[in-house]
Symmetry: C2
Subunit: 259 residues, 2 copies
């Protein structure tokens, strides 16, 4: 089993779009996959067609459960039309968790402890992160094997990379020695713009990990799909967005086989 967190504190860079579509493509490749939504916005939950206001149990209930209370297994739902994809949904309850956890023992390990109780076998777990480096993201980085960093092809998106890599280093040192970087994924790439090309060059020369071959182009189908509650492979499998996320899934599976 491989756990991959999709994280970047910069907002709107394509974390949710990547988490949902990578998980769906891994499911389509018959890899048993669990998508965990750790963002109070609940976009990943909506993105796979689940009404976040109607879920009975969410990741918030799992993280705040008593010792012998509910476990993550009780919150997991199968995603319609994708046999090998399950989700642990999120809703707005998660918004208050950072303040609630501040004085709790081992506050950084709540998600790691929840995953230890998993009673099903998955090949991959993909975790969607909120746009911050607070306690929720620290919990994610403590529980995961690797971090996949989506980087929008925009100038502001470069600014926060040093801080993100610094946080990964701190978590490696203090909370999760096995943590490593899965790679940087360039998103919303527009080949007509100089800015896109400049940002890709900058990342290739500056980023201390691997940069995925797969480039995710700006593709309106990717932003339409969530309004139908479908990952891109179910909404428009021939679109450039779908093809590029399928390529990403293949790259990750191949990389996984090499380990």
């Amino acid at each position: 089993m491989r756990i991959i967190a999709v994280s970047n504190q910069k907002g709107g860079v394509g974390k949710t779009t990547t988490a949902v579509n990578l998980a769906a493509c891994l499911g389509a490749c018959e890899k048993r996959t669990l998508l965990i939504d750790m963002d109070a916005q609940g976009n990943a939950t909506t993105g796979v067609g689940i009404n976040k206001d109607e879920v009975e149990l969410s990741i918030y209930d799992v993280l705040t459960a008593e010792e012998d209370g509910i476990t993550i297994n009780d919150a997991i739902i199968n995603v319609e039309h994708i046999k090998y994809l399950d989700i642990a949904p999120a809703n707005v309850n998660l918004a208050g968790i950072e303040i609630e956890l501040v004085n709790v023992m081992a506050r950084e390990r709540k998600l790691a402890q929840a995953l230890e109780k998993l009673d099903r076998v998955y090949d991959f777990i993909i975790i969607d992160s909120p746009p911050s480096l607070g306690l929720v993201t620290i919990n994610i980085m403590t529980a995961t094997d690797t971090v996949l960093v989506p980087i929008q092809c925009e100038y502001y998106a470069l600014e926060g990379l040093a801080e993100l890599l610094n946080t990964i280093r701190l978590v490696q040192k203090n909370l999760n020695p096995r943590l490593s970087i899965e790679g940087a994924l360039m998103t919303m790439y527009d080949q007509r713009l100089n800015l896109s090309r400049q940002v890709v060059e900058e990342v290739k020369s500056y980023f201390t990990g691997r940069v995925f071959e797969s480039l995710i182009p700006r593709n309106v189908k990717l932003s339409e799909a969530p309004s139908f509650g479908k990952p891109i492979i179910n909404y428009d499998i021939m679109s450039t967005g779908s093809v590029s996320y399928m390529n990403l899934a293949k790259e990750i599976i191949e990389h996984d086989n090499e380990r």
Copy 2:
């Protein structure tokens, strides 16, 4: 003096782009304007050409100062080439403030208290918010007169509106009775896309406050300008991005005159 916060917990919707360019356009209209960067990413600080790693005092120092220590006046810097625009910069130190403030008395009023010590006269104060509804954003909503809500013309951007309006209501009731909504600003509008038109229609029928006449189109000049450390009026004054933010500034000044 009018204080306007630019807030939306959804990431990447154009909060910083709006805060920087609205403030610069108000300055160009000879309104004395202070831009306050309240996001640890420090994008607004970079967006007006200041190296956030070299500032001596930032908003973090102001919010955590002792009773008789430094004040916001010590942190204010004039923005190059825009006589009527000052900034109170941010840097990564701000990232830890939510945890630091948790057990502090009147933790929601730190920014409001800092603004009471302002010794200069401004016509407008514009505050850039981080992508969350945590203690930093609550501080901003407690200190401000109104909230301007940038809404990206995308499906996920609609999802969080109810939660944002709910937070504004709670702050109105418990912390800042004068708080009201300045309006909703549609951003990254692409007239070729059905999705853009659908989102605008949805906001016009659903949003409980006013929706600005000014629509901010998707314009590559707006995303290039930050890499030169310039607001759009200094980078490319003839661009559609610049014209649309000038229109917004005029709308806000007219609305201000009507009060």
